[in-house]
Symmetry: C2
Subunit: 120 residues, 2 copies
DNA sequence: CTGGTACCTGGAGCGCGCTCCAGGTCAAGC
DNA sequence: GCTTGACCTGGAGCGCGCTCCAGGTACCAG
């Protein structure tokens, strides 16, 4: 616990090394320390931030929006309302996404039932 | 009812004209008739096929897989089992997708609750 | 000290699913 | 007949989110 080499961070977070470097470049990941020689060192905090990113990413948040969230998180307490608003809005987006998936899934199931009864 | 100009087909299906032409190029849409002058004419059947494509697309099926489905649909009765299998597999994929969304949504909601109680 | 592997950087490239463009054709209304 | 707008084709380009590469450096094991 406490500090992880890049390879281990990749493994634990589920992001590739290239993706971790990419996220750093675009400002999604800013707090990663370095050794004297310039190698990255990830902390538990970094990993938990990556956990949040994974969660937002997997639920379809565009990277630009994640960057906005990251920016707010770097800001102080006064960004709390906006962070909250952003997450709440995303929560609603996920809800809509699930509802649409369910509806479309129902159509697929009808199609399947149709095949089951009309074929063979 | 029965035949639609490209613009109307686009409007009714929700796909852009360019997307309709693209789907035709890659073989997702093969039955569209033409006027003597070469303009497309869409039928109700075309529109209902487009409805299926929209459904598969919106639930995240890759285009290559939709092409496979289209190919099977052009085949005879004997492709029924494979079509059925393809749809059933996709249904399971959608189910997994929804489950993952729900799980991640729960994390987001925890985060929101955290902000609500700790901030302001 | 040496070897080997893990890591570094900047920048180019990729795969998907469209989207746009140039330059021309078709067709309905006046 | 003429205009006007919708449509045609082949092919290039784009936006996203990575992914790969070349050429070089760091660090640990023996």
């Amino acid at each position: 616990m406490g500090s992880y080499a890049p390879g281990e961070a990749a493994e634990r977070s589920g992001f590739s090394l290239d993706t971790l470097r990419y996220y750093e470049r675009i400002g999604l990941l800013t707090s990663v320390r370095r050794t004297a020689g310039g190698q990255r060192v990830f902390t538990d905090d970094d990993l938990s931030w990556l956990g949040i990113l994974r969660c937002l990413r997997d639920t379809g948040m565009p990277i630009a929006r994640m960057c906005r969230y990251a920016e707010l998180s770097r800001g102080g307490e006064e960004t709390m309302p906006e962070r909250l608003a952003l997450l709440a809005e995303h929560d609603r987006a996920v809800e809509r996404q699930i509802a649409r998936l369910r509806a479309q899934q129902e159509h697929i199931r009808e199609k399947i039932r149709y095949y089951r009864t009309h074929a063979v």
